[in-house]
Every structure is written in structure tokens, then in C-alpha cells.
Symmetry: C2
Subunit: 225 residues, 2 copies
Amino acid sequence: MSSLPESIAGKTLAVLGGTGPQGRGLARRFAQAGFAVIIGGRNAMRSSEVADALSAEIGIGVAGTDNLTAATNGDIVLVVVPWEGHAELLTELKPALAGKIVVDCVNPLGFDKQGAYALPVEEGSATQQAAAILTDSTVVGAFHSVSAVVLEDPEITEVNTDVLVLGDDREATDTIQALADVIPGVRGVYGGRIRNAHQVEALTANLISINRRYKAHAGIRATDI
Amino acid sequence: MSSLPESIAGKTLAVLGGTGPQGRGLARRFAQAGFAVIIGGRNAMRSSEVADALSAEIGIGVAGTDNLTAATNGDIVLVVVPWEGHAELLTELKPALAGKIVVDCVNPLGFDKQGAYALPVEEGSATQQAAAILTDSTVVGAFHSVSAVVLEDPEITEVNTDVLVLGDDREATDTIQALADVIPGVRGVYGGRIRNAHQVEALTANLISINRRYKAHAGIRATDI
């Protein structure tokens, strides 16, 4: 990993909620990029099974454990849990996450027969909720709309999307942009302060509409940069 | 205009609030694509001056008048007014807009020294507000984040962005996608129902952040479609 920026080289990544498709997909791509990855989940046994299956498939060891152990052992922690348990889990893990960069990847969406829609969030967005709870961490929002199907597809070597990285701390957003860049095809792009996270989270609902209409796994690219 | 889809061929386009940079830029590009374009504004004299200046610059006649006259004479009406006067103007023009496709292009944004941010909108978004007022029109949201600087730059022949088109009426969204497609480089992409318009409007704040950081005039592209 000698070519990686110092901010991320040799770091251990924890993926909380890493047993779902999005978390598994990110874990896969980061493990393939050479990072030590720990999948966290509500149930350590289940996480361990998911990690073992992933490890066997990609031929690289990935650890699986409970969310607290993952949070404790990760240098950079990605939060990919369902929106329903978001506030509760982060409150519980607050001490374990102190001093770390926490990357919130959660999209607060509802679903009905017309598709997906953005849920109202009291704090404005999942990222802002995380920042309100994790006052001893540096919270960044990122990886909201990277297709889980694409991430988990071993045939897809280049993931054709930008990742908008939202945060109020320049060093942290630079770090997570660099982290996004390690996935082949992905480009980490600074997307604004966390007060502008809501629309990036909610845009995933539009991408779901696009996917339905065009039978695709759409991502987004910023042009002219 | 024989190669244009029937839904837009020969239509007159009204651009309400067309005296501002975004409206002027859209008027320019649609006039260049062969459409009859009427620029509307609060002040007919001012609109006429803007239209005359644009006509002289591009060598194509563009009309300028008050918003009511423009709304009355347009077959398809684009709303590019400041957010502050949005509800009031649409309420006033409701009878003139009846039976027409109204394309809301308005981004309800606030600005402070940290940049742009999304304003809360009671109806959810400018597009939804327009739909709530204009119950006799078919409201579509589109053209939210096409850079005015790019649209107005005569040196830029290809505008490198997708336009997300939001609406609940398939025929109307198809029509406005076709309209977006007439601007060289632009692709009209269905972006979901109007309940998902907020985040597309608000995303313009993120693009402003991107523009600041990268010294660019960013647009967005959906990938994999």
C-alpha cells in the first residue's frame, strides 16, 4: 500500500452494518484495495459468517464481529446500518468512535409502490444526526449512492461513479476522498458541508427511479472537474 | 425543426424570469435550437431590452415582454424566477398557465459566507409548490443545475450535463426530456416523481460548493444509462 496517501495507508476500516449488500460491497472493494477490513453487525456470529463467505470468495481475509468490536478496532469507521437503528447505534457506540473519522453512508428513505422517497430527518440528514450524536468524532458523509449490486459484482472491475464527500473538516474530507479513490473507477469529490448532506442522501431515491426507468445501476458524475 | 419530436416541434417557449442569467442562458440555447422564445419579466421594458440584446448577439429574434404576456403566449412555459416571488407569481399567472406544461427550474437556496444551502419549503420543493398552485397545468421540474455561466458562454458549444426531469406525468416528462436534448451536449434524463424534486433542486447548493472548491462550472451526469 506504499502508493496510498499517508492519511489512509495501513488503516483498518470498520464497516458497521457490513452484513447488508451495501456494506458487504464496500468491504469487498476495500479489502481488494489492500485494507484490513472488519465487518460489524448486530450479531457477531452472523457478521463472522458474512465475512468468511466474502473472504472465501475474494481470497482475502476479512474479519466479522459485533458493531462495538468493529467500531473499537477500526481506524476509520463506515456506518452502513439501516436508518431505523441509526441514532440508537451511534449513541451506544459514541465512546468507541471518539477521535475517529466516522463516514456516514446512510440514506433515510421510505419505499412504497411508487418507489423510494426521502424521509424527513429532524437533524436535516443522517450525516447531521451522526454529527449531533458523535461530538467527539469527525463525521463525514459519503458513499451514499454507490450501487450495492455493482460493488458486489466480481465481473465489474471499474465502478463508474463519483462519490460526493460531505464534511466540515477539510482534512477528513480529503482523507475520505482518497479512500473513495482506491476503488477502481470511483472518484472522491468534495460535495460541500454537512448542512448540504440531505440532498445527497435523498438523491439515492432519484437514482432508484432512474434504475427502474432505464433498467440500470446508475451512479453520478460531476462534470467539468 | 423537422427532426424534432412532435411534442416539441414548432412550440413557442416562454421563459418567465428570463432576464436573469439562468433564464437568459436557456432562452439563448432554445432560440439557437430553432424555437420561438419569449422572455418574460416583471418589467416589460427591461425584458424587451434583454431580449433585444440577446437577439443582436446571437442573430436570432427573441421576444421580451411581461411575465403574463409571455405565459399567455408560450406553449411550454419555463419558470426561472427568484424563489422569493415564486408562489405569488404562479398564483397570479394560474389562469394563463392552465392546460400547459410548466417547467419549474427554481432552486430555493439561501446564501451566507459558507456558501449556498437549501431553504426549507413547506410544500417540499419549488416544483411541488408549483404543482400545488397550478392545479390546471402539468408541472415538471427540470434545468435546476445547468450552469448559467456555461449557457451564456458563446464559446461553449457542448453543454456537458444531464438534466434531471421530474414529474408525475409520463407524457410531460418525455416532452421536457426531448426539450433538454435540443441543447447540444445536454441529455434529458427522467429523475423521478415530483415528490423527489427537493433534492434535485437542493443539489445545486452542492454544485456551488464543487464550483468553489474546484474552480469549475460543474454539472452532473447519471452513469450506466
